[in-house]
Subunit: 158 residues, 6 copies
C-alpha cells in the first residue's frame, strides 16, 4: 500500500489545499493530511480547530485521514509508513522554497520521495493568508474556502 | 495498478533522466518511458537509437518499460492506461513551462494528473543538450550519462 | 482621447489575447490591435489571415481596431498617436522579456508608456503555440480560441 | 473620467514611487495615491506623516491626490469611483506577489482592473525599506528620495 | 593587494558558507569574513560565538580573517581597504535580493564592486535557518556544517 | 598574476559588455575577452569583425586583451592560464542558465571558478540582439553601443 503524507499549516484549509488533496487521493492508496502544530507562528486557529475544519471539508474522501504532528516531517513520515511527501506548487517562489525543502528531506531520509502537484488555475491565487486578510476586513471569502466550513470561519473572524 | 508515463526526447538519456526514472519506479507500479518521435526537431539520435540507449540504461528496473510515441501525450497516456504523467523539475524556467504543459494536459483530459519530481543536486545541471555540446568538443561526458551507454555515445559523436 | 496599441503576432488570436483586449478596451478610449508582419518567423497564418481572424473575434468591441504593421513599434505607435503600449503578462519568463522590451521602448521614445495587464487564471496557460501544437495533432482547441473562428482554424490545420 | 488608484504604504515615498505616479498621471485623468493605514506593521512614519511627505513630493502634479485608507482596497476603490488599480513592478518576486493580488482583487470585484507599470532602470533598486536601512546608519539617501522631503526624512531618522 | 569582504550573519556558519569562502580565498589575496552584529534579528548565537565558530571552521586558510562589524557595509569595506564584496548565490530569489543590494552598494560607493560566486550543487540547499530548524528537532545536521564545530552546535541546541 | 577570461559572442559588443569588462579589469590583473567562433549560429558579424569592434571599444584599457576561441571554454581557459571565468548577470533567466554553465564548467575542470558581475541599471536592458533588431529597422542605437564603433555598426546594417 502506497501511503503519502501532505503536510501543512492549514490555517485554515482552502480550496487550493482541497484541490491538491483530491488529486493526491487518486494517485495514492492512502493520503495523510498532517497538520503542523506550530507553536511560535501566530496561527489564527488552534491545531485542533484546523484538524476539525479539515475533517469537515474532507467528508467523503475515503482514503484520506487528518492528523496533527510536530517535529521533523521525515521522522513523522517514517512513523506512519509514508514513502512520499506531497507538496502543492503555485508560483516560482513556492518552487524554490519547496525544492530546497525536498532536497533537505531527501538528505535526512533517502527513502522518502517528494512529489509536487499543481492546483487548477482557478485556485492558483488562493492561500490561507489571503483568506485571513480578506476575512479580517469582512470581505467575501466564499470563493476561496470549502462551503462546509464557511460558517465556522465567519464565526471565528467576527 | 497505478501506471505512470514519463515522456521526453531522451536525445540521449542522461543521469538526470535516470534519477527521475528510478524515483518514479518506487512510487508507481509501472513506469512507461515514452520517447517522443519528434520529426522537425534536429535530434542527434534516431528514435530507435534513443529507445535502445534507454533500454541499455534501464536494465534491472523491472517495472519500467520503454516505448516510442507520437501525437498528443494525453491520447497516448489513455491508450496505455496511464493515469499520471511524470515530469522532472530542475529550474524555475523549467517550472513555468512545465506548469503550462500540466494545465493544458489537464484541460485536454481531466482524468490524468501530472506529478513533478526533482533530481538529486549532483544531477541538477545535467541536460541532453549539455551532453551533446561537451561531446561535440571531445569533452569528458562520463559524469553526465549512464556508464552502460558511454561507449555508444562516444562512437556516435566521433 | 487616450489611444493604446496592443502589438503581437496573433498567429492565431487566442482567448488569452481576447481577455487582454477586452480589459484594455475598458481602460482606454481606443485600442489598436497591431499585427506584426513578421517575415522571417515561420507563421502558420499570413498577416492578412491573422488580421481577418482578429476582426471576426472582435465584432462588437466598438473602440477596438485591427491593423498590420512592420518596423519599430514605437515609430508605428507615434504615427497612430498611441501614447500607451499594452502587453499581457502570464509568467515570470514573460515578465523579464517584457520588462526589457518596455525599457528599450522607453529609451527609444520617452513619451510612450508600457502598461501590463494579466489574463484571468483560466486563460493563463493559453498561447498561440499551444493552440498550434494541439491542432496539429487533431486535439480539441475549442477551450483555447474564440468560438467565432474555430471553424476557420480547423480548416487551416486539416 | 478615468480614475486610477495607486495604493501603498509609502513609508516613506521614494523616487521609485514618484516615477510610477508621474507615469500614471499621464495615462489616467485622475490618480488617487492611497496610503494604507497599516496598524500592525511597524511603520517608521505615521499615516499622516506619510500623506504629508507624499503631498510635499507631488506639488505640481495637478491630477494627483493623496488620501489615507483602511480595509479592503477594492471597497475603497469603488467608493472613490476608481476603475483601475496601479501597481509598480521591479522584480520577479514583486511580479508573483502582484499577480496573486490582482487575481484576488479581480475575484472580489470584477469591474476593477489592475495595470502594472515599471520604473526607470535608475530607480529599479530603490525601496522604502532600503531607504530606512541606509538612513538608520546615517548613510546618504539623497539619490533615493524626492529632494523636497530630504530634510524631513533626515530629521526623523536622527 | 586585492582584498575582498564576505559579509553575513553566519548564525551559524554552514558548509555552503565554507564553500564560498574557500573559492574566494583562491581568487583574492585576502578575504575578510565580516560577521554582522545584528541587534534586532533574533540570532541563536551571539556575534562573538559566531566569530568563534567561523574561526574554528577556517583554520588552515591563511589568507582569510574573521571580524565583526555594524553599520553600512560599504563604510566598513572602505575602512579595511576592501575593493570587492563577495556574495553567494543559490536561488533565483537570492539573486533578485542580491542584485538589489549590489546596485544600492554601488550607488553608495562607486569604487566597490560586488562579485557573486555559487556553491557546489551538494551545498545548494543548505542555509543557516535550515540547520537551526533541523537541530531544534534533534535532527542530524552533520551533513550541513563543518565537522570541527559540530559538537559546539549540538551543545548549543540541546 | 590573476588572469580572468570573459567569453561571449559579442555580435556586436554593447555598453553592457563594456560595463562588465571595465569592472573586471579593476578586480583582476589581466582580463582576456574571448570571442566565440560560433559556426552554426547566424551571427551578423564575422569573428574577426567582432574582435575588431571589441579592440576599437577597449582602447585605453591596458590589462584587457581580445582573442578568438573555439572548443570547450575550460580547455581554452587552461591554455591561457586563466583561473576565473567572468559572466555578466542581468535577469533571472540569465541567472539560471549561467548557474547551469558554471556547475558544468566546475565539473569539467575543478580548478577554474566562475564569478558573476552585474551591469549598472542603465545598461540592464541592453543586449546584442536588441541592438541588431533596432538597427535592422533603422532605429537609433547610439545609447546601446560604444561611440567609437557606432559608425562601423551603422555601415554594416545599412
Amino acid at each position: 500500500m502506497r501511503i503519502a503524507i501532505y503536510p501543512g499549516s492549514f490555517d485554515p484549509v482552502t480550496l487550493g489545499h482541497m484541490d491538491i488533496i483530491v488529486r493526491a487521493s487518486k494517485i495514492f492508496d492512502r493520503v495523510i493530511v498532517a497538520t503542523l502544530i506550530n507553536k511560535d507562528k501566530n496561527a489564527v486557529f488552534t491545531a485542533d480547530e484546523r484538524v476539525n475544519l479539515l475533517e469537515k471539508s474532507l467528508i467523503g474522501l475515503k482514503n484520506v485521514e487528518v492528523v496533527k504532528f510536530e517535529g521533523l516531517l521525515v521522522d513523522y513520515a517514517k512513523k506512519v509508513n509514508a514513502t512520499t511527501i506531497i507538496r502543492g506548487l503555485r508560483a516560482v517562489t513556492d518552487f524554490e522554497y519547496e525544492l530546497q525543502l525536498a532536497l533537505v528531506n531527501k538528505k535526512l531520509c533517502k527513502d522518502i520521495e517528494t512529489v509536487f502537484l499543481t492546483t487548477s488555475p482557478e485556485n492558483i491565487y488562493i492561500s490561507s493568508s489571503v483568506v485571513k486578510q480578506i476575512a479580517s476586513f469582512n470581505g467575501d471569502i466564499s470563493n476561496f474556502v470549502p462551503k462546509s466550513i464557511l460558517n465556522d470561519l465567519m464565526g471565528k473572524f467576527k
